[in-house]
């Protein structure tokens, strides 16, 4: 397949507050229960489906001595039990952090146990109920070793991040932090911690494997279909072209469907051995250990400012838990310092090995934990300086990264703060803690900033336009609810000069060319560029100009006439796009899904781009029983050109609610003695429910910000929850005079002294 990297100059497109708020292309399918998710798809072969059920380790560290399968095998209907002894060798994967596609580098069905909930077997039976019962009947003898649960275990292993990591991370160290803090007019010195959290999309992790001759079809939800294809081909030792992965839509992901778990290969393996399709759906609790999580973190922040509020010194040490086998770690402070650009910076990052499943990306992974620390410290600093917390932030407007010196394409944070404060009614806030009240409820206001860097990703697509002026756009991007299919249809329609209803975008299938990895808010900044290139190729063949420019005829008529002139029924064009500064082989590499190493932060010329925003929160705390409620939350954001304001608003509201739940409810509880999660279901792992959300507003400011991609689009799905936890903690301080420095911010924290 001929592949050309195309980096066309940015065409003229509308810039401003946005395009049309059209409904989701698949909306009707979603409200009528059509089969659009992986486990719903009809099977392409007429063979009875068998059901896989995962068998998990109940210990965290040790070795399997023996698996007693007799009782399970004796159940009528049990077809196969895969174990380390019966399955034979299936290759391991490299982790995503190391340039591969896997959740973990532990080998499939290893008899060595690295964490509780490791997949140690798979039962396959005629029906789901029998497979489930058989799994309970398998008894395992282990040689168990003492395991480390988390930071404070004697068996935990502390490593300097920059030495242990494989991704070229370096701790930041510029200027003289100690001197700056010594000379500062006010200094905050605090420790913070955040908890383990799990993505818990409502769609379970399912895999259906179907063999058609020597070709393998996998129905599985994914954020990155080509990675899933690559991993499966590797583990099944077959050519990648013989594997097709499919799921038209994904039932939520948030990071946990970005990487590949062993269930895929085991299911494919079982299907091959049995000669019939197999479906394995991890149960909710199994999902807690096969698909990564946000790991717990600790922070030590020292923050100093001069009397004008200008930050002079910023010291932030970070500790993160990873697994025994793999290193997963977030960035240090190199992202955070973009917010306020302090002059003197010191950071040491540590990764702490424990006997846990490998962590991974979870919505806004690099910012959520450290931003809780930084933005809480900013609030405390404002009090020490006697300054309004909004004003303190505004006085630290940054225009270049203080570590790298790279300037920004724009900084809209102060505009967001101004508009947010105005719409929220920040001026009504009496800054004195414990000064506001309504009936039995203490009232507090809090604020925090947020940001997210623009990341972009190479991708390829096919556009077919037929002579009836109908277009079909195909790319293996993942629509996880962000609306990828809809916005691509909009961009194609806009470029071709057709109504959006004349364009259908198909995603989620490796039968299409490689799409954007749906993570790091990359879809909207990346995928539309390819759509424009593809549309322009078609238009060129038809002798038309983009978007109907210089032509006042109806777009559909214009297109039909052009086809008639040319005398063809259809035109199909493939286009590929890579972010500026990509490596030469970026496009070929998308077919091999080289993971995180393909991802590039945008550097247009010598600039870098960010989406910006802030959250304003009003909390209420009951004077006696001290439960905390968010009465109001307001977010003001900018994210360049908005293709679809309706979808953008939905995503921002969703991420603000993520911020609320993540701050106040969500914590995966570890039994440190047994090193196992104990609240691994949706009753005990609480996420926000409808009743938790009261007044909420997401306000998108127009942003004139150019030259980092063709439409000047930034991603915004990950930004909304970056600062929410700190905004809530700051509001709780304002209401009660109590600083909550350990997440979650819940009523248990309100009873450890007699403050109220």
């Amino acid at each position: 397949m001929p592949l050309i990297v195309e980096n066309a100059a940015a065409p003229t497109m509308p810039v401003g507050s946005g395009g049309q708020p059209v409904p989701r292309q698949e909306a009707r399918s979603k409200v009528t229960g059509q089969p659009i998710y992986a486990a719903d798809l009809p099977l392409p072969v007429d063979a009875p489906l068998a059901y896989g059920y995962l068998v998990m380790s109940s210990i965290a560290r040790g070795r399997i001595l023996h698996m007693n399968l007799e009782a399970a095998k004796a159940l009528p209907g049990v077809l196969e039990i895969l174990t380390h002894e019966s399955a034979g060798h299936i290759p391991a994967l490299e982790t995503f952090m190391s340039g591969g596609q896997g959740v973990t580098s532990v080998a499939p069905l290893d008899d060595k146990i690295y964490h509780a909930g490791q997949i140690i077997g798979m039962v396959v039976a005629e029906d789901f109920e029998t497979a489930r019962e058989a799994s309970y009947l398998i008894k395992v003898d282990y040689d168990e070793e003492p395991a480390a649960g988390s930071f404070d275990s004697p068996h935990a292993e502390y490593l300097r991040g920059q030495e242990a990591r494989t991704d070229e991370h370096e701790d930041a160290n510029i200027g003289d932090v100690e001197g700056a803090l010594m000379a500062a007019a006010a200094v905050v010195d605090r420790r913070y911690s955040t908890e383990t959290q799990h993505h818990n999309p409502i769609e379970l992790h399912s895999t259906t494997a179907i063999w058609i001759g020597d070709e393998l079809v996998i129905h599985e939800p994914s954020q990155y279909y080509y990675a899933l294809r690559e991993a499966t081909a590797t583990q099944m030792r077959m050519p990648r072209e013989k594997v097709r992965v499919r799921a038209p839509f994904v039932g939520g992901a948030f990071g946990c469907k970005a990487m590949v778990s062993h269930r895929t290969a085991l299911t494919a393996f079982a299907a091959k051995r049995l000669g019939r399709p197999v479906r394995t759906t991890a149960t909710r609790d199994q999902g807690f250990t096969i698909a990564t999580h946000r790991s717990e973190t600790r922070h030590h922040v020292r923050l100093g400012a001069d009397h004008t509020g200008r930050l002079t010194g910023y010291h932030h040490d970070i500790w993160e838990v990873t697994s025994r086998k793999d290193i997963y770690a977030n960035d240090g402070v190199e992202g955070l310092v973009c917010l306020y650009g302090p002059e003197n910076i010191a950071n040491t990052s540590w990764v702490v090995r424990a006997d846990r499943d490998t962590p991974g990306f979870m919505r806004c992974p690099h910012a959520v934990p450290p931003m809780f620390a930084l933005e809480s410290a900013m609030d405390e600093l404002a009090y020490k300086l006697g300054m309004d917390p909004v004003e303190l932030r505004k006085r630290n407007e940054a225009h270049r990264n203080p570590i790298s010196g790279i300037p920004y394409t724009a900084n809209s944070l102060n505009r967001c703060l101004d508009v947010g404060a105005e719409r929220f009614g920040w001026a009504r806030r009496n800054p004195t803690p414990c000064s506001m009240r309504e009936g039995e409820w203490l009232v507090g206001y809090g604020v925090a900033s947020c940001y997210y860097p623009v990341h972009m990703f190479s991708n390829v697509a096919t556009l077919t336009v037929t002579s009836d002026a109908v277009a079909r756009y195909e790319t293996a991007v993942s629509d996880v609810g962000q609306g990828a299919a809809t916005i691509l249809s909009q961009v194609v329609a806009m470029r071709l000069g057709l109504p959006v209803t004349s364009v259908e975008t198909s995603v989620g299938d490796t039968a299409f060319p490689p799409g954007v990895h749906a993570g790091a808010s990359m879809t909207t900044p990346s995928a539309p560029n390819t759509a424009i290139l593809a549309a322009d190729k078609v238009l060129a063949k038809l002798g038309l100009s983009p978007g109907g420019q210089g032509d006042d005829r109806d777009g559909t008529i214009r297109m039909k006439e052009a086809f008639a002139r040319l005398g063809v029924d259809k035109i199909t064009e493939q286009a590929a796009w890579s972010p500026p500064g990509s490596k030469k082989d970026a496009i070929p590499n998308t077919y091999k899904a080289k993971g995180v190493k393909d991802m590039s932060e945008v550097k247009t010329g010598s600039h870098r781009s960010f989406a910006w925003g802030c959250n304003f929160v009003e909390v209420r705390i009951h004077e006696r029983t001290r439960e905390i409620r968010v009465a109001r939350i307001m977010g003001a954001y900018t994210a360049g050109y908005i293709v679809n304001p309706r979808l953008a608003r939905s995503q921002l509201i969703g991420s603000m609610i993520w911020g609320i739940g993540g701050a106040m409810l969500e914590a995966t509880v570890l039994d440190e003695k047994r090193v196992r999660y104990v609240n691994n279901d949706l009753a005990e792992y609480e996420i926000a429910v409808n009743a938790d959300i009261n007044e909420i507003e997401a306000f998108l400011l127009p942003e004139e910000n150019s030259d980092f991609n063709m439409l000047n689009t930034k991603g915004l799905g990950e930004m909304g929850n970056a600062g929410t936890a700190a905004a809530i903690a700051n509001a709780v301080y304002h209401a009660t005079g109590k600083r909550i420095t350990d997440l979650p911010i819940n009523l248990s924290k309100m009873f450890d002294d007699q403050t109220l």
């Binding site: 409904p23 409200v31 998710y37 109920e129 029998t130 993505h199 759906t281 609810g481 962000q482 949706l682």
Partner: protein
């Protein structure tokens, strides 16, 4: 208890407890035949006696609109109606279901969407859409039970349907809008 055995028997009793009466005995371990009235059609399936209504719909009858998000009655994605009342199909055994089942596939009037379905589209009351079938089934019950008039009651009623994309404010807006049309 014998670890290896999986014999299971279901006895349905319909009389008063101490006056004797009818019993229906569903034997057994292997597959049993169930007859279900779903969306106005009669279905028959041969299922393991422990099969949930949800798995019967999805895995045996090809009605995949109802979703499995937890399999333990905790997320609400599997909500269907039985005789018009909301029920978690994952916690119902197919063999014990009595009554008319309505799933998301049976809500529209032919090609005309139910007002609640249309309102969910109009208000972008979903993102990934996976919880949507359950949300809509609960939302219809919310209006029927008169809980859509007061927003606090509405939100409380809908709190048994988790939405991880957190479309809650849009769901509330959709239900309020649909309630006006359903009442009319």
């Amino acid at each position: 208890m014998d670890e290896e055995s999986k014999e299971l028997m279901l006895l349905t009793v319909t009389a008063q407890p101490d006056k004797g009466g009818e019993t229906r005995i569903v034997e057994g371990n292997r597959h049993v035949s169930v007859n279900l009235d779903i969306n106005g059609r009669q279905y028959q399936a041969s299922v393991d006696i422990r099969t949930s209504l949800l798995d019967t719909l999805r895995e045996h009858l090809g009605l995949v609109g109802s979703k499995k998000g937890c399999d333990h009655g905790q997320c609400g994605a599997c909500t269907v109606h039985i005789d018009g009342e909301p029920v978690l199909s994952c916690l119902s055994l197919a063999v014990e279901v009595v009554g008319r089942v309505t799933t998301i596939e049976g809500l529209a009037y032919g090609h005309v969407l139910h007002p609640m379905q249309q309102a969910f589209i109009d208000h972008d009351a979903f993102q990934c859409g996976y919880c949507t079938s359950g949300q809509i089934m609960s939302a219809v019950s919310c209006v029927h039970q008169g809980k859509a008039e007061n927003v606090d009651e509405l939100k409380d009623f809908m709190s048994g349907n988790l939405c991880r994309c957190a479309a809650y404010p849009n769901i509330v807006a959709a239900i309020k809008a649909a309630a006006l049309k359903m009442g009319a």
